[in-house]
Amino acid sequence: MSELRRTPLNAFHREHGGRMVDFAGWEMPVQYQSILVEHRAVRTSAGLFDVSHMGEVDVTGPDAAAWLNHLITNDISRLYPGRVLYSPMCAPDGGVVDDLLVYQRAPDDFFLCINAGNIAADLAWMRTQAEGYDVSIQDRSDDYALLALQGPVAERILQPLTGAKLGVLRYYHFQEGTVAGVQCLISRTGYTGEDGFELYHAAADAPALADALLEVGAPHDLQLAGLGARDSLRLEAGYPLHGHEISAEISPIAAGLGWTVKLDKPDGFTGAEALATEKADPTRQRVVFFRTGDRRIVRAGAEVRDAAGAVVGRVLSGTLSPLLNEAIGSALVPATAAAAGGLQVDVRGTVFALQLVKPPFVDLKKSS
């Protein structure tokens, strides 16, 4: 097995008691003290996550906009400089190559954030899709570190460190500025369902920025938070994770992300035909979210049965919701089975009825 990659904050994590694990080939902190404590801190005060393993790509050139709109399912004609867009990027069969954030810096200048485990595959895919377009696609993943400051008091922690006017920076918008003297792309986005910011900055500046945020955040009960809490927070918010709720086999239509699939884009896009066909099929697969009323976690891979006991699907993600104090998860089942109800799972010999829930599982207070 090859050497694990390390973010510029590896020593910082160790100093702060981070428990390091292999995540998608990166050595990352899964937790510091407790996943449950870190999760609750993000819902009630704030958490600071190192997500420097994520990939960044510069997309520039005269055809940048046209190429991006061919590549992704969402419509970048909705973008303007300073606006962020979430979108899946699909293969011709409608399967999801990856999901990403698109930042528009100028009319022909875009910045993408992609999943750590998919960087090489995404870039290879993007290049195959670029033929005939006058566009430059540049991998910047090693140049950037990324810190996510998430939670209801995130703005109060960040504002004293920056001249950027955070009060007028709306959700899914960004601006360039300095934070504690470090040049950042300040993005009001996140993967927790809470208000918060993602700060893209030069890799060499990451330790100084993390120290400054931690110091200013301490009186606000800012906690360092690891990938364990990141996963339980995103599942509680009902956000998909590539490889779970969306994948090469699970399209954005199946995943309930139809709002990101703009079938009416005038020039079409990769995967449009397959996604249109799928959307019209009442027997298609569907991702559902569930709770069980019990603390026993229903783990990814568990079989889902219908009321008659026939296996109709499988669990995609499962965890304990620290706020509900109950097992929550997602599963892939035929839409017809979801509509019929009576779905159940067996956890070590005990059968639980799945109560289907439209996420988020908890009230969220994102800024708009």
């Binding site: 428990r19 899964v30 937790q31 407790s34 996943i35 449950l36 364990g228 339980s232 603390r295 026993r296 976690i297 783990r299 965890t319 304990l320 070590r348």
Partner: protein, 127 residues
């Protein structure tokens, strides 16, 4: 660094056993085990009256990360279980050697404790 009390015996599977003055044996999981599991979210207890062979699965301890079987360090009859763990499984993280006890056994052979690891042997086992 894991805490390993001097008055306990340990199974390689990370359960501890403590011989009490009344001849019963208290069983729980080690500090090393709770630390490795992370946040414990559920404990499946045996039933009072169950008869367990040494090494038999008697329950499950589940964390955010994984579910792990619990193995009886010695054989015997279950005479009490710590049902406070139903509502507060995190006690296993906070206090694995006292309030986090899991079950009390009447051992079928009290001498069986001698076959478990002593604290030095357990320390060597977990490295």
């Amino acid at each position: 660094m894991s805490n390993i009390p001097a008055d306990l015996r340990f199974a390689k599977s990370h359960e501890w056993a403590k011989l009490e003055a009344d001849g019963t044996v208290l069983v729980g999981i080690s500090d090393y085990a709770q630390e490795s599991l992370g946040d414990i979210t559920y404990v499946q207890l045996p039933a009072v009256g169950d008869t367990l062979a040494a090494g038999a699965v008697f329950g499950v301890v589940e964390s955010v990360k994984a579910a792990s079987d619990l193995y009886a360090p010695v054989g015997g009859e279950v005479v009490a279980v710590n049902d406070t763990l139903d509502a507060a499984p995190e006690t296993l993280n906070q206090d694995p050697y006292a309030n986090g006890w899991i079950m009390r056994l009447t051992p079928s052979d009290a001498g069986a404790l001698d076959q478990l690891l002593d604290p030095a042997g357990y320390q060597a086992e977990i490295g």
